[in-house]
Symmetry: C2
Subunit: 299 residues, 2 copies
């Protein structure tokens, strides 16, 4: 569309989300520089012309803007602030965009360390899952300076449909925490409503169809409800990642003396499922908790 | 549209929901026969030609199909099964449609008592609130025979956009319970997410805008979120009615050995609000619980 497409873009973290997001940048003509823990996740992008690097530092040295979509806050910290990390390796004037859902405090530390090297760093976590990533319909919540937000916007628009500047560094992560908090209890509601429908002898598919059109309707009922009823617990979004998010949110809420009992309940049920070996299942696996209760009761 | 428009329709219960629903039937040309505890709720319909009756029995005697939208299961029981109730007063061959959210077991009792007098009775509770009632966009969940469902359908289509036959008598109420169960925990999520956004210093309006586009998005976030943030707790749907629904759902779940901790948590928080005098506020008043916590903490 314009000359900016010649800007080399780094992308680190090519899991379910990252590889779909990076593909939109590549399709728009941006030359990509990639690093991922396993090269397999990068193959499709490499076949389409992206360049592989053996380290995050290699990506940063080759890119004007580097985007990260990794797993845990510990991974973010290591990739950004560790030896050979992005803050140390990026060129002055470069930009770093962390789209991982991570700690607001860590995002502030990264932004401060980056600023000291004349690098712009923003936090831009997303919501919308694999479906949103594949269809470039993610909601993207951005924390950082207005200048940095404006600079990132053309790239973010290729990956998302709702892109909102939430405030300074860390505010994107805070907004994402708010998002995850809404989701946590909503997942309880979706599971419990469908479990009740089954237990009361209704056809839960018919119930799902009916209630999706009313006040209970929403993204999770529409997208997770059918998977739950089909027993499809494959991961669009890993339970272990959601647990991590809920842990951060609970910590941040506690720091503010804010009691969030719905979130605490959801975290506790998900933790039990993760300990039982469901950490790599999708978040819709919460439905199993209610199915277990059902089979124990002998219904 | 056809001759059926001359069929006299009874409507009992003209609160926020009922008066909006009845207005659609009147607009479609059906002659209405009305009863309500206070005549004031009927005035607009009477001014447009509806006929007032001093008792439910008077309505039933004048109507081929009588619709009820009253408050509590005790009201339903009294209107249908009490002395001078609809089952005793309706003409043989008539039809009774209870659109109140009520007990599945009571719906089965009413259907059986009605059948003994050659009257068809169905349960057809709704979701979608005042907005849905006003715009004829309700989700309507129907329990009863297929014959009765088919007979009711032309009327229900004037009030709702998603009308689903869930099974025999009581199944509409069970489906509505599933709906309320989804809503209960989703309300926790909406409140907690917005309370977190405020507590973390973000602009909650901006957060609401951003997260509505992602996986947290849904009817309640879109419709209740703005009211919560505006401090508008006026009732589209009364907290005391929602409490009644949650009580029925918890009873039915317990009868099936089904543990629904999200529902139990929501019921407990709503009960505290009702005891504190918020029973006639709308269900979005749950947000007050988190605001109280906030002010106690001194933030």
């Amino acid at each position: 569309m314009n000359d900016s497409k010649a800007i080399p873009i780094g992308f680190i973290g090519l899991g379910i989300m990252g590889r779909n997001m990076a593909a939109h940048l590549q399709a728009a003509g941006y030359p990509l520089h990639l690093f991922n823990r396993s090269r397999a996740g990068a193959e499709a992008l490499l076949a389409a012309g992206a360049e592989w690097h053996d380290t995050p530092a290699g990506v940063a040295a080759a890119s004007a803007i580097t985007i990260t979509m990794v797993g845990l806050p510990a991974d973010v910290e290591s990739v950004y602030l560790g030896a050979g990390g992005l803050v140390a390796s990026a060129l002055p004037g470069a930009m770093l965009i962390d789209m991982t859902t991570s700690s607001p405090v860590l995002a502030q530390r990264i932004a401060a360390a980056a600023a000291a090297r004349d690098i712009e760093a923003i936090d831009a976590p997303v919501s919308g899952g694999e479906i949103g990533a594949r269809n470039a319909k993610l909601a993207i919540m951005v924390g950082g300076t207005t200048t940095a937000f404006d600079r990132a916007l053309p790239l973010l628009r290729l990956m998302g449909s709702t892109i909102v500047h939430q405030g300074g560094a860390g505010c994107g992560q805070h907004a994402k925490m708010a998002n995850q908090i809404v989701i946590a209890s909503t997942m309880l509601g979706v599971c419990e409503g469908l479990a009740y429908a089954k237990a009361s002898g209704l056809d839960p598919q018919t119930v799902l169809q009916a209630i999706s059109g009313g006040a209970a309707g929403g993204f999770l009922l529409a997208n997770m409800g059918p998977k739950m009823l089909a027993g499809d617990f494959s991961a669009g979004f890993f339970t272990e990642h959601f647990l991590k998010d809920m842990g951060i949110a609970l910590d941040e809420a506690t720091r503010r003396d804010l009691d969030l009992p719905g979130l605490a309940l959801a975290e506790s049920l998900y933790r039990a499922l993760s300990l039982a070996g469901h950490g790599r299942d999708g978040t819709q696996v919460l439905f199993r908790h209610y199915q277990q209760a059902e089979s124990v009761s002998g219904d």
